[in-house]
Symmetry: C2
DNA sequence: GAACTATCCGTAGACCGTCTACGTATGAAC
DNA sequence: GTTCATACGTAGACGGTCTACGGATAGTTC
């Protein structure tokens, strides 16, 4: 029996989780657990958001006004706090996406200088 | 006189500096100050590595065996500690480059789902 | 030789986001 | 009534980057 081939998780870089959460909520309101699962599944299970990262992040984002929340009932019939983007949150997402693109660009330039 | 238009620096994400240092040393041995400047100039001044980040990083990398160092004299005729990649450091660079590529890929998938 | 700038090394401590490791409660299945 | 999945959360460790210092030496200007 070969070793259980788990898919080698990637650790998140500090500062990327907020962007991923905001992005996930662009698909529509969602509760914490759902957000975590969405990120997992959309990354083919390479990313896994720990609850110890996820919930503090959600509270942080709400406190900053990027998100607002309300209690509801999940599809599995559980009490759940649904988050959605505020207008400020949408703007923030644009900023973070921009910064990410820039950073990927610049690091790419260093790691892999343009052959011209 | 318009406001001095500085180029809006990008903050590094935690975990990317080590890779950039290792990469810079692929160009050849270099001292700390030089490494910082190389990263700055290769990023069109978008990245700036503070000495409070740079030197701890160099010591960390050396301690882990990715780098080795020796004292020498800089081009500007100053005492300088020259760092170079070890074999382990080259291997590490490959790993980090890989991880970075994977992460950019996966995050790209979430931020910008493939139009197929 | 005094003053100043650029070069080069470094440390201390704040800061902050992610992680591991817990704990709690409810609903569904058996 | 036990077990599992769902859903919320916190406490504290951890680690890398940041700001803000300090110190030594070389070169330049006066």
């Amino acid at each position: 029996m070969p070793k259980n081939t788990e898919p080698e998780r990637l650790e998140l870089l500090q500062g990327t989780l907020d962007m991923l959460i905001l992005r996930t909520l662009q698909w529509g309101p969602q509760h914490g657990h759902g957000i975590g699962q969405a990120i997992s599944s959309q990354s083919d299970d390479l990313l896994k958001v720990e609850t110890g990262s996820l919930y503090p992040a959600l509270h942080r984002l709400e406190k900053r006004g990027w998100l607002k929340s309300e209690w509801g009932i999940s599809e599995a019939n559980h009490k759940a706090k649904y988050y959605q983007l505020t207008a400020a949150g949408k703007a923030q997402l644009l900023r973070e996406r921009d910064r990410w693109t820039q950073l990927v660009d610049v690091i790419g330039k260093i790691m892999n200088p343009a052959a011209e």
